[in-house]
Protein backbone atom coordinates (compact mmCIF):
# COMPACT_ATOMS: atom_id res chain seq x y z
CA UNK A 1 0.00 0.00 0.00
CA UNK A 2 1.22 3.48 -0.79
CA UNK A 3 -0.14 7.01 -0.68
CA UNK A 4 0.21 9.07 -3.86
CA UNK A 5 -0.90 12.67 -3.54
CA UNK A 6 -4.03 12.33 -1.44
CA UNK A 7 -4.91 8.85 -2.66
CA UNK A 8 -4.21 5.49 -1.02
CA UNK A 9 -3.35 2.71 -3.46
CA UNK A 10 -3.22 -1.00 -2.76
CA UNK A 11 -2.63 -3.70 -5.37
CA UNK A 12 -2.27 -7.41 -4.74
CA UNK A 13 -2.50 -10.91 -6.15
CA UNK A 14 -3.81 -13.71 -3.97
CA UNK A 15 -3.98 -17.48 -4.18
CA UNK A 16 -6.35 -17.47 -1.20
CA UNK A 17 -10.07 -16.59 -1.48
CA UNK A 18 -10.87 -12.88 -1.72
CA UNK A 19 -13.34 -11.06 0.51
CA UNK A 20 -14.69 -7.58 -0.15
CA UNK A 21 -14.57 -6.06 3.35
CA UNK A 22 -10.77 -6.32 3.81
CA UNK A 23 -10.26 -4.63 0.43
CA UNK A 24 -12.60 -1.78 1.38
CA UNK A 25 -10.75 -1.46 4.68
CA UNK A 26 -7.51 -0.82 2.78
CA UNK A 27 -8.93 2.38 1.24
CA UNK A 28 -10.94 3.61 4.25
CA UNK A 29 -10.61 7.39 4.49
CA UNK A 30 -12.59 10.02 6.42
CA UNK A 31 -12.97 12.15 3.27
CA UNK A 32 -14.76 9.28 1.56
CA UNK A 33 -18.50 9.65 1.01
CA UNK A 34 -18.79 6.56 -1.12
CA UNK A 35 -16.81 3.42 -1.75
CA UNK A 36 -17.70 1.43 -4.85
CA UNK A 37 -16.55 -2.17 -5.00
CA UNK A 38 -16.76 -4.19 -8.20
CA UNK A 39 -16.67 -7.92 -7.44
CA UNK A 40 -15.89 -10.23 -10.34
CA UNK A 41 -17.15 -13.79 -9.92
CA UNK A 42 -16.85 -17.03 -11.86
CA UNK A 43 -19.89 -17.54 -14.09
CA UNK A 44 -21.35 -21.03 -14.61
CA UNK A 45 -21.44 -20.86 -18.39
CA UNK A 46 -19.86 -19.24 -21.44
CA UNK A 47 -22.07 -18.92 -24.52
CA UNK A 48 -24.23 -21.73 -23.18
CA UNK A 49 -21.33 -24.06 -22.42
CA UNK A 50 -21.27 -25.26 -18.81
CA UNK A 51 -18.12 -24.13 -16.99
CA UNK A 52 -16.67 -26.36 -14.26
CA UNK A 53 -13.86 -24.08 -13.08
CA UNK A 54 -11.31 -21.50 -14.21
CA UNK A 55 -7.56 -21.35 -13.79
CA UNK A 56 -6.01 -17.85 -13.60
CA UNK A 57 -2.38 -16.92 -14.04
CA UNK A 58 -0.61 -13.57 -14.31
CA UNK A 59 2.71 -11.98 -15.03
CA UNK A 60 2.45 -10.50 -11.58
CA UNK A 61 5.27 -7.94 -11.67
CA UNK A 62 4.11 -6.44 -14.97
CA UNK A 63 0.43 -6.60 -13.99
CA UNK A 64 1.16 -4.68 -10.78
CA UNK A 65 2.82 -2.00 -12.91
CA UNK A 66 -0.28 -1.93 -15.13
CA UNK A 67 -2.50 -1.56 -12.05
CA UNK A 68 -0.38 1.41 -10.94
CA UNK A 69 -0.68 2.98 -14.39
CA UNK A 70 -4.46 2.50 -14.35
CA UNK A 71 -4.59 4.19 -10.93
CA UNK A 72 -2.50 7.10 -12.19
CA UNK A 73 -4.96 7.65 -15.03
CA UNK A 74 -7.86 7.47 -12.54
CA UNK A 75 -6.28 10.07 -10.27
CA UNK A 76 -5.77 12.35 -13.25
CA UNK A 77 -9.34 11.96 -14.51
CA UNK A 78 -11.04 11.92 -11.08
CA UNK A 79 -8.68 13.99 -8.92
CA UNK A 80 -10.88 13.77 -5.82
CA UNK A 81 -10.33 9.98 -5.62
CA UNK A 82 -9.28 9.06 -2.09
CA UNK A 83 -8.45 5.39 -2.53
CA UNK A 84 -7.94 2.71 -5.18
CA UNK A 85 -7.53 -1.00 -4.45
CA UNK A 86 -7.24 -3.87 -6.91
CA UNK A 87 -6.97 -7.40 -5.56
CA UNK A 88 -6.92 -10.25 -8.08
CA UNK A 89 -7.14 -13.96 -7.39
CA UNK A 90 -4.91 -16.55 -9.08
CA UNK A 91 -5.08 -20.32 -9.44
CA UNK A 92 -8.08 -22.59 -9.69
CA UNK A 93 -11.48 -20.98 -9.00
CA UNK A 94 -14.83 -22.73 -8.77
CA UNK A 95 -18.10 -21.29 -10.08
CA UNK A 96 -19.28 -18.51 -7.78
CA UNK A 97 -15.85 -17.67 -6.36
CA UNK A 98 -14.54 -14.11 -6.46
CA UNK A 99 -11.83 -13.51 -9.06
CA UNK A 100 -11.26 -9.79 -8.56
CA UNK A 101 -12.21 -6.93 -6.26
CA UNK A 102 -11.76 -3.36 -7.48
CA UNK A 103 -12.58 -0.73 -4.86
CA UNK A 104 -12.61 3.03 -5.32
CA UNK A 105 -13.25 5.69 -2.70
CA UNK A 106 -14.38 9.24 -3.39
CA UNK A 107 -16.23 12.01 -1.53
CA UNK A 108 -19.09 11.47 -4.00
CA UNK A 109 -20.59 8.31 -5.49
CA UNK A 110 -20.80 9.50 -9.10
CA UNK A 111 -17.04 9.80 -9.45
CA UNK A 112 -16.52 6.57 -7.51
CA UNK A 113 -18.81 4.58 -9.85
CA UNK A 114 -17.25 6.07 -12.98
CA UNK A 115 -13.68 5.54 -11.81
CA UNK A 116 -14.40 1.96 -10.71
CA UNK A 117 -15.91 1.08 -14.09
CA UNK A 118 -12.90 2.59 -15.84
CA UNK A 119 -10.58 0.54 -13.63
CA UNK A 120 -12.16 -2.85 -14.29
CA UNK A 121 -12.64 -2.16 -18.02
CA UNK A 122 -9.00 -1.14 -18.41
CA UNK A 123 -7.73 -4.03 -16.28
CA UNK A 124 -9.59 -6.50 -18.48
CA UNK A 125 -8.10 -4.98 -21.63
CA UNK A 126 -4.53 -4.35 -20.49
CA UNK A 127 -3.35 -6.37 -17.49
CA UNK A 128 -1.24 -9.45 -18.34
CA UNK A 129 -3.62 -11.90 -16.67
CA UNK A 130 -5.02 -15.00 -18.34
CA UNK A 131 -7.75 -17.47 -17.55
CA UNK A 132 -8.32 -20.93 -18.86
CA UNK A 133 -11.86 -22.29 -18.90
CA UNK A 134 -12.52 -25.93 -18.11
CA UNK A 135 -15.86 -27.09 -19.45
CA UNK A 136 -18.23 -29.83 -18.35
CA UNK A 137 -17.58 -31.77 -21.58
CA UNK A 138 -13.97 -32.32 -20.50
CA UNK A 139 -12.38 -29.78 -22.85
CA UNK A 140 -10.62 -26.53 -21.96
CA UNK A 141 -9.08 -23.46 -23.58
CA UNK A 142 -7.64 -20.04 -22.88
CA UNK A 143 -10.17 -17.24 -22.92
CA UNK A 144 -9.46 -14.73 -25.68
CA UNK A 145 -12.14 -12.03 -25.71
CA UNK A 146 -12.98 -10.77 -29.17
CA UNK A 147 -10.56 -13.09 -30.95
CA UNK A 148 -11.86 -15.54 -33.53
CA UNK A 149 -9.72 -18.67 -33.13
Amino acid sequence: MQVLGNCVEDFAFSRAPLAVEPVLARIADPRQGAAVAMVGTVRNQTKGRAVLFLDYEAYEAMALRVFAEIAARMRERWPTTTGIAIHHRLGRLAVGETSVVVAVGNPHRGEAFAACEFAIDTLKAEAPIWKKEFWADGTSDWVAPGVAL
Partner: protein
Protein backbone atom coordinates in the same frame (compact mmCIF):
# COMPACT_ATOMS: atom_id res chain seq x y z
CA UNK B 1 23.13 -11.81 -28.04
CA UNK B 2 21.22 -13.40 -25.22
CA UNK B 3 17.64 -12.59 -24.21
CA UNK B 4 15.19 -14.06 -21.73
CA UNK B 5 11.67 -14.92 -22.85
CA UNK B 6 8.95 -15.19 -20.21
CA UNK B 7 6.15 -17.60 -21.08
CA UNK B 8 2.60 -17.52 -19.80
CA UNK B 9 -0.71 -19.19 -20.60
CA UNK B 10 -0.62 -21.09 -23.93
CA UNK B 11 3.07 -20.22 -24.46
CA UNK B 12 3.99 -21.76 -21.11
CA UNK B 13 1.98 -24.85 -21.97
CA UNK B 14 3.47 -25.16 -25.45
CA UNK B 15 7.04 -25.21 -24.10
CA UNK B 16 6.23 -26.88 -20.75
CA UNK B 17 8.30 -24.24 -18.97
CA UNK B 18 7.89 -20.60 -17.96
CA UNK B 19 11.09 -19.14 -19.33
CA UNK B 20 13.44 -19.58 -22.29
CA UNK B 21 17.01 -18.33 -22.73
CA UNK B 22 17.48 -17.53 -26.42
CA UNK B 23 20.49 -16.59 -28.50
CA UNK B 24 19.33 -14.17 -31.22
CA UNK B 25 21.11 -12.00 -33.81
CA UNK B 26 21.52 -8.24 -33.35
CA UNK B 27 18.49 -6.42 -34.74
CA UNK B 28 16.01 -9.14 -33.79
CA UNK B 29 12.51 -7.76 -33.24
CA UNK B 30 9.75 -9.04 -30.98
CA UNK B 31 7.79 -10.28 -34.00
CA UNK B 32 10.76 -12.35 -35.16
CA UNK B 33 10.86 -14.13 -31.79
CA UNK B 34 7.13 -14.89 -32.07
CA UNK B 35 7.71 -16.36 -35.55
CA UNK B 36 10.57 -18.50 -34.25
CA UNK B 37 8.55 -19.82 -31.31
CA UNK B 38 5.53 -20.55 -33.54
CA UNK B 39 7.79 -22.46 -35.93
CA UNK B 40 8.97 -24.62 -33.05
CA UNK B 41 5.48 -24.97 -31.57
CA UNK B 42 2.84 -24.63 -34.35
CA UNK B 43 -0.01 -24.41 -31.82
CA UNK B 44 1.21 -20.86 -31.13
CA UNK B 45 0.63 -19.78 -34.72
CA UNK B 46 -2.99 -18.90 -33.84
CA UNK B 47 -1.80 -16.01 -31.68
CA UNK B 48 0.36 -14.36 -34.33
CA UNK B 49 -2.23 -11.71 -35.37
CA UNK B 50 -3.11 -10.77 -31.80
CA UNK B 51 -0.07 -11.35 -29.57
CA UNK B 52 1.34 -8.32 -27.76
CA UNK B 53 4.83 -7.82 -26.41
CA UNK B 54 6.50 -6.47 -23.31
CA UNK B 55 10.19 -5.73 -22.84
CA UNK B 56 11.37 -5.40 -19.25
CA UNK B 57 7.73 -5.25 -18.09
CA UNK B 58 6.67 -2.44 -20.47
CA UNK B 59 4.38 -2.83 -23.48
CA UNK B 60 6.22 -2.34 -26.78
CA UNK B 61 5.27 -2.65 -30.45
CA UNK B 62 5.96 -5.78 -32.50
CA UNK B 63 8.76 -4.12 -34.47
CA UNK B 64 10.75 -3.13 -31.37
CA UNK B 65 14.36 -4.29 -31.53
CA UNK B 66 15.70 -6.34 -28.65
CA UNK B 67 18.92 -5.61 -26.77
CA UNK B 68 21.36 -7.89 -24.97
CA UNK B 69 19.92 -9.07 -21.66
CA UNK B 70 16.36 -7.94 -22.38
CA UNK B 71 13.46 -9.79 -20.85
CA UNK B 72 10.75 -10.28 -23.48
CA UNK B 73 7.24 -11.42 -22.62
CA UNK B 74 4.78 -12.68 -25.20
CA UNK B 75 1.28 -11.62 -24.26
CA UNK B 76 -1.55 -13.58 -25.89
CA UNK B 77 -5.04 -12.04 -25.49
CA UNK B 78 -5.53 -11.18 -21.83
CA UNK B 79 -8.61 -12.19 -19.87
CA UNK B 80 -8.25 -10.96 -16.32
CA UNK B 81 -11.12 -9.78 -14.17
Amino acid sequence: MKIRVRLFASYREAFACDELALEVPEGTTCAVVQDRLATERPTLERWRPVVRYGINQRFVSADTTLAEGDELVLIPPVSGG
